[in-house]
């Protein structure tokens, strides 16, 4: 998913866009940026600073800075939950655990080696079950006897799930098992940071009530979820952009390093 947030100096959000990311990051970045500008009723020149983050951050030709999603998420989460100590983010490409102290990122763990433990795991298996991703959470909450998914690898877990279905095991128990599988994997990873409250859960998967529930069980404590868990990274990026700009202005400098144009990047050329 590609997310855009446009924010004013007062940190008030004036545009928010979420769209799917394909293989063609660049074109998409451009398109969603235009949409966002339209929503905010602004022209590109009126934007003081553009920060790109996330997996495709290097593919945003019009960005002034690239900052990792780890730093941006941390900043975004802190703005929403000032007391946060641990942030867990599960997206389609990766899962992250952030340790935050006094509003600053101090340590992190990350999995992007393997689809298991990321949103991709659920996507793949939901597709195999012929279900929509959004349906999973609700289905799993009906479970009374969740099954254990023994394969960690997404490809084989998919197979295992199909097998369980053919054995006549109720769908909700299987989906609950999947949620537990992903939650226990992520929890195990995040435990490396020594968990302390408040724990905040963000990313696309945080919209799934089943995973939230399973994560609570695995972490053994309360978990806060923002209203728009997908946007945290973009919000953080925008705030960092604002801070950088203000700092630059105070020094009488400008944040822009190069001439910046919002035009469709040609897909086959690496423009600068």
């Amino acid at each position: 998913m590609t997310k855009v947030v446009i924010m004013g100096r007062d940190e008030k959000i004036c545009a928010r866009i979420v769209g799917p990311t394909g293989a063609e990051h660049r074109r998409l970045a451009n398109k969603v940026m235009e949409e966002a500008l339209e929503q905010a009723n602004l022209s590109f020149n009126e934007i003081s600073c553009v920060i790109a983050t996330g997996y495709g951050r290097i593919n945003v030709p019009f960005a002034d800075r690239q900052i990792t999603e780890l730093t941006c998420h941390a900043r975004g989460v802190v703005s929403l939950f000032p007391k946060v100590r641990i942030a867990i983010d599960i997206g389609g490409q990766d899962a992250k655990g952030l340790k935050i102290s006094n509003g600053k990122l101090i340590d992190f763990v990350m999995n992007d080696r393997c689809a298991a433990g990321t949103g991709r795991f659920l996507e793949v298996i939901a597709a195999a079950l012929g279900l929509k991703l959004e349906e999973l959470g609700e289905i799993s909450l009906k479970s009374t006897n969740r099954v254990k998914i023994s394969s960690t690898c997404t490809v084989f877990a998919q197979q295992e799930v199909i097998q369980r279905i053919s054995e006549g095991i109720p769908l909700e128990d299987i989906v609950a098992g999947l949620h537990d599988a992903i939650a226990s994997r992520v929890a195990k990873m995040v435990k490396r940071l020594k968990i302390e409250p408040d724990v905040v859960f963000t990313g696309g998967v945080a919209k799934n009530a089943g995973v939230v529930h399973a994560l609570k069980e695995n972490i053994g404590g309360e978990i806060l979820v923002p209203d728009e868990p997908l946007l945290t990274g973009a919000i953080g990026a925008a705030i960092l952009g604002k801070e950088l700009t203000l700092k630059a202005v105070a020094k009488g400098e400008t944040i822009q390093r190069k001439e910046r144009r919002l035009e469709e990047a040609t897909f086959f050329n690496r423009g600068n």
């Binding site: 293989a23 660049r26 495709g56 689809a115 690898c153 997404t154 084989f156 197979q159 199909i162 053919s166």
Partner: protein, 267 residues
């Protein structure tokens, strides 16, 4: 007249055939979906309808494949490796090595005349060694699976996948796309990567002419070409490569069922 049935329940699709005196008289393919029992029953119904026979006319049925244990009406379950060897041997009697590329794994089987297995090797439990790798990349490039083979043949400069893992391969494909590499080159690269995996399997059990390919991978011209180039060989491709294992099951059913029929007579 005696009819025999072979049912191959694979991880992705299920195949069934009916043979009569060693000849294929009917076949049917269905996606396996979730319930193997249901798909097996449906496969049988479709097959019987095609030859207009009642179930009782089938002398013997052998089930095989990933879900071969979930075929309630089969007389026997046999390992897919053996069925594949019998099947290919019935189509190409001179084949001594068959490369069977399935959704869950790839296997290379060496056989002697009559389709007896003399050695085999199965890829690791890793999606990168199976047809699944192709699916993953096709999916991320948003290209229909059936088009990836022909498309890959257009490549002049296949990329090299330096990773041996489908998940990594996916991100590698994404980053190559964003570097401006063409989809053709990426597809040719993934075919090459799978061909490399297959050639590793072959390195482990040695080579003998003639060669054939079976399984879903046999439908993919890109993969066939990559394997041929990688190994410097010519692959025989049966008309319906994905049916070979089911066909082998039916042929084994004939041998087995024929034996039972004879023993009934002598008794």
């Amino acid at each position: 007249m005696a009819w025999f049935m072979g049912i191959d329940i694979g991880s992705g699709s299920s195949k069934g055939v009916i043979t009569e005196d060693g000849k294929l008289v009917a076949y049917h393919v269905l996606p396996s979906k979730a319930n193997y029992r249901v798909v097996a029953q449906k496969l049988r119904d479709e097959l019987l309808a095609k030859v207009a026979l009642p179930p009782g006319d089938i002398t013997y049925t052998i089930a095989t494949g990933y879900g071969g244990g979930s075929v309630p009406f089969s007389n026997q379950q046999v390992a897919d490796i053996r069925c594949c060897a019998r099947g290919i041997s019935s189509v190409f009697p001179l084949v001594r090595t068959v490369i069977d590329v399935q959704g869950m794994s790839s296997q290379v089987i060496r056989l002697k005349e009559g389709g007896q297995v003399i050695n085999f090797v199965v890829s690791e439990k890793c999606a990168a060694g199976s047809g699944r790798f192709l699916e993953v990349i096709a999916n991320v490039l948003r290209i229909d699976l059936k088009d990836i083979g022909p498309l890959s043949l257009k490549s002049k400069n296949p990329i090299t996948f330096t990773t041996g893992c489908a998940v990594f391969g996916e991100s590698e494909a994404i980053s190559r796309v964003s570097e401006g590499i063409s989809k053709e080159d990426i597809l040719a690269g993934v075919h090459k990567a799978l061909a490399n995996k297959i050639s590793t399997l072959i390195d482990r059990i040695g080579v003998e002419e003639q060669w054939a390919i079976s399984g879903g991978g046999g439908l993919n011209v890109g993969l066939i070409k990559s394997v041929e180039e990688r190994l410097g060989i010519q692959l025989l491709v049966p008309p319906q490569p994905q049916l070979i294992t089911a066909l082998g099951a039916a042929i084994m059913a004939e041998a087995r069922g024929g034996l039972i029929a004879r023993s009934e007579i002598t008794n």
